[in-house]
């Protein structure tokens, strides 16, 4: 661990988090919410007081090695959540610090799992901050730092940070310069967010609601500011817009860059995009037929069934977690499809969570080639995605990732079972948190929340959310003693 450079990055991070509390302070001031204002002001002052001096540290060796990247990313996410939770507690909106931490981790990791039973009565500034954590966590806090810090810091060799923070089996740069890559990613992200805001405002959604919903969709988070989530906006248009944008944000951002640089063929040929769209279409149709056939609430017409099926599929596959209807009441077949979608998740390089479609593709193809190998033992079978050979190293790491992923879910389920809720609740809570979705089934379903778990259970779920967002290894590496050994 390169202590100076780690502290320097943490300094930038805290200063920026502090700066981002100013809009929330403005809202508190404007709405006359005194407790919220104190909460944000106190936290912001602390953040700036710690962050600004640290960011001026002079590093002795500006080179970041792979382990430094992992270390900085993992530590940053934990620290940012610890501080991000302070306004909730100081303002009294969420009196228990563990609850507030859960809510913040859930925000930054774009999970959207909430311990709040009553949302609408909270101060507006608090609601804004809660949704904003989604937006910042979606593309990544450190990617944001990479986009804005002066060139000298870290000498720009920050690929390890991008790799540790961005989801997917293979993370590369869009353009040669790291800073430009980070800026392009954020530019695409901001433009898409503004587009959604625009379409929601056209549909007549109030400004504050539109802003927070856009944040929630962009980060594929899922915090809403109403008690019954998106069902509160009873309009096919508004829900339709949100459906489309949830799907847009779960597409690999490289695709948008390809489109912008007019490489339509490459975008069209992208295997992950095709498979992702295929999965979405098939699931939407299957669920629509199923819920229409069984005559669920709101789904009496086929169009209604299609609409709610599409929304629910989009919200789960993008790992957002908004709700327009309580899918907990749906037939088992539909619920099973949704559960499978929870595991698959969004595309690599998007803001969504889950295992990522590209990993599923590589897994499936490597299994197929194993089977073919049984028939022709000496055949050479290479896994290809988008017409290109995937290196055996990547295939290997995807297999390893899957194994660790399953093991950790099993372990977390075991830990959470101490709270003694039924199987459906316990298992789906872990799956929903690990994959950064939010709502699971039964007690933690679309109409429920996570308030009933013990503090221990909540911390287990916090760990799951962080593991899921950072794709396991950065967090696991924090437990490796050699990473903590000081280097220069």
């Amino acid at each position: 661990m390169n202590i100076k450079i780690t502290l320097k990055y943490l300094g930038y991070l805290l200063a920026i988090e502090g700066a981002f509390m100013f809009p929330a302070m403005m809202i508190a001031l404007f709405c006359g919410e005194r407790t919220a204002l104190t909460g944000f002001a106190v936290t912001a002052v602390i953040l700036l007081a710690i962050g600004v001096p640290l960011s001026f540290l002079k590093e002795e060796n500006p080179t970041l090695y792979a382990k430094d990247g992992f270390f900085i990313v993992a530590l940053s996410w934990i620290v940012v959540s610890l501080f991000g939770a302070m306004p909730f507690t100081i303002s009294g909106a969420i009196p228990s610090y563990v609850d507030a931490f859960f809510e913040t981790v859930s925000g930054f990791t774009t999970t959207g799992a909430s311990i709040l039973t009553e949302i609408e009565s909270l101060p507006k500034a608090i609601l804004y901050w809660r949704s904003f954590t989604h937006w910042l966590g979606g593309m990544g806090v450190l990617v944001f730092i990479l986009a804005i810090i002066p060139k000298s810091a870290g000498s720009g060799v920050s690929l390890h940070i991008l790799r540790a923070e961005s989801p997917g089996p293979v993370v590369g740069k869009l353009v040669p310069k790291m800073r430009s890559t980070a800026r392009i990613l954020y530019a695409i992200y901001i433009v898409l967010t503004l587009l959604e805001l625009f379409f929601l405002l056209i549909g007549g959604m109030p400004l504050f609601d539109a802003v927070t919903v856009s944040f929630g969709t962009a980060g594929t988070g899922g915090f809403a500011i109403t008690n019954n989530s998106i069902a509160a906006y009873d309009s096919y248009y508004l829900q339709g817009v949100i459906t489309v944008f949830m799907l847009l944000f779960s597409v690999n951002f490289n695709i948008y860059y390809l489109l912008l640089s007019r490489e339509f063929r490459a975008a069209y040929k992208d295997t992950e995009l095709r498979v992702f769209l295929g999965i979405v279409c098939v699931s939407v149709l299957a669920i629509a037929v199923n819920i229409w056939h069984t005559g669920q609430a709101l789904c009496e017409t086929f169009f209604g069934a299609l609409h709610h099926s599409a929304f629910q599929v989009a919200t789960i596959v993008s790992t957002t977690g908004f709700a327009t209807t309580d899918f907990n009441q749906w037939p088992a077949f539909s619920k099973m499809i949704l559960l499978l979608l929870m595991f698959i998740g969004a595309s690599a390089g998007s803001t969504g969570g889950g295992m990522k479609v590209s990993r599923v593709i590589i897994l499936a193809k490597s299994i197929l080639s194993e089977i073919k190998k049984l028939i022709h033992p000496n055949s050479i079978k290479l896994v290809r995605v988008s017409g290109k050979v995937v290196s055996p190293d990547v295939v290997h790491s995807v297999n390893g990732y899957f194994a660790v992923y399953i093991a950790l879910i099993a372990l977390s389920t075991l830990c959470l079972s101490i709270d003694n809720f039924n199987f459906e609740t316990t298992f789906s809570a872990v799956v929903a948190c690990f994959n950064n979705i939010g709502p699971g089934f039964d007690m933690v379903g679309a109409a429920g929340n996570y308030s009933a778990f013990s503090n221990f259970g909540k911390l287990v779920l916090c760990a799951d959310m962080l593991l899921g967002r950072l794709e396991i290894f950065p967090i696991l590496l924090l437990f490796s003693p050699s990473l903590w050994r000081r280097t220069k």
Partner: protein
């Protein structure tokens, strides 16, 4: 600027590192995916694995939109093919490494045919550098400017030196030397000194001087001026070959010790004037038997840095007046800075500075860089510019100009008259100006040296 570098070996990597630090967008292509992975992780560049001469790969690397393609793979033919493809795709400039002697003589011919902007030959360039060192054995390094009218030399202050303990302004007042000490390296740190800077033993100083003043300086400082009459070269690779050619032409006795028999025979058949010894030059007895004590200069050119270092250190130890060491990895050279290691030369840096000079000059079309030398292990640069109509500081006394930190105007060439500048001198239109910089940001035009007034 968008630059594609094909081949990420020693030179390719050094170029990628330097050019990306100068804020260019670099894409590196190499068919070895491990090398590529390394570059990707340690440098702020984009990397691609594949055959850089293949059309598909070049299209993927967007060579058509690039300003420059540099081909530095180990194969000349592949490099040339890279450049042809790149030119056809619309790349503005191409630079190719061509090292085969057979092609050397037809370079001009090929350059026109292939539309090459520049060809570089590391071994030849290195041999030229060594040859220049041997011409002025008193200096550790020597670079020339203004068509050879100004020299930039590096020398070390020894205990008995006249300069030991002198402040710089005494150079002109006491010793009446019209020279300028522009960079001092002390304990691995770089100083751009002022007049009251006191030199002490162990300092390495870089001095600019008109050529005429150089001999006077050598005399005044009492540096030995013995001309080199015979040279022992250890290692008979390509550099040795080019070097032997130059040395033979100027009548210096050359002795090459080469281990490989086939190669020795080849060298012997090509250079009958040279004495070729087929033996292991790293063995003490061999060196002694071949009279290392009596030679004027030892040049170590084997492929192994450690061997070169040991032989040169030993030669210096037993009193050979001049030693030149070839180092493939210059990173460790600081280890030896305070030992008795004479001159060192690093092929990848010789080439990198040649290419970087070219890149800077095309980067800014009015920049008009004439010469660029990287000095003190690349920690500082000496650049020669033409002052043109856009230059802001024309005809203002230098004392009224505000220069950026760590920049110094070392010399002004006014119509062939060499001025070592003082406060009242001024830059006029058409002058060439040599500046020395240890600044953080790259200087690509003359105006970059002035402090921004706005």
């Amino acid at each position: 600027m968008k630059i594609v570098i094909v081949g990420c070996g020693k030179v390719g990597y050094a170029l990628a590192a330097q050019l990306s630090a100068e804020n260019h967008d670099i894409t590196v292509v190499d068919n070895n995916s491990r090398v590529i992975e390394k570059a990707q992780e340690t440098l702020d560049v984009m990397s691609m694995s594949g055959n850089g001469a293949a059309l598909a790969i070049q299209q993927e690397a967007r060579v058509g939109e690039a300003d420059l393609l540099i081909a530095t793979t180990s194969s000349d033919e592949l490099n040339l093919l890279c450049c042809i493809v790149a030119k056809r795709l619309g790349c503005r400039h191409t630079i190719s490494r061509v090292r085969n002697t057979d092609y050397m003589n037809q370079l001009t011919f090929m350059r026109d045919d292939f539309g090459l902007s520049m060809t570089v030959n590391p071994e030849y360039a290195t041999a030229r550098t060594i040859w220049r060192f041997l011409q002025f054995p008193s200096f550790l390094k020597i670079d020339s400017f203004a068509k050879g009218r100004v020299e930039l030399v590096e020398l070390k202050i020894t205990e008995n030196s006249v300069l030991n303990g002198k402040s710089l302004d005494k150079l002109s007042t006491e010793l009446h030397l019209k020279v300028l000490v522009c960079v001092v390296e002390r304990d691995n740190r770089i100083f751009i000194p002022k007049g009251d800077f006191v030199l002490r033993e162990g300092d390495k100083i870089n001095v600019t001087a008109p050529r005429s003043e150089l001999t006077k300086m050598i005399k005044t400082l009492g540096i030995s001026t013995q001309k080199i009459r015979n040279v022992m070269v250890v290692g008979g690779g390509r550099i040795a070959e080019y070097l032997a050619e130059e040395l033979i032409r100027s009548g210096v006795d050359v002795k090459i010790i080469e281990r490989d028999r086939e190669r020795s025979i080849e060298l012997a058949s090509r250079y009958p004037e040279a004495l070729i010894i087929n033996d292991d030059g790293s063995i003490h007895d061999v060196l002694m038997a071949e009279g290392i004590r009596e030679t004027d200069a030892v040049v170590t050119l084997t492929g192994i840095d450690e061997q070169n270092l040991v032989i040169s250190l030993y030669a210096g130890h037993i009193g050979v007046p001049k030693t030149i060491t070839k180092l493939n990895r210059s990173e460790y050279s600081e280890l030896f800075s305070d030992r008795e290691l004479g001159s060192t030369v690093c092929p990848k840096e010789v080439i990198a500075s040649e290419i970087i000079r070219y890149v800077r000059s095309i980067d800014n079309s009015d920049a008009s860089i004439i010469t660029l030398h990287r000095i003190v292990d690349g920690k500082a640069e000496a650049i020669e510019f033409i002052a043109n109509a856009q230059t802001t500081g024309l005809d203002i006394p230098l004392k009224d100009l505000k220069l950026k930190k760590n920049i110094l105007i070392a010399c002004i060439n006014h119509d062939g008259k060499i001025i070592i500048p003082r406060g009242m001198d001024r830059i006029s239109y058409g002058d060439t100006v040599i500046i020395v910089t240890a600044a953080d940001e790259p200087i690509s035009e003359l105006n970059d040296i002035f402090e921004d007034n706005n």
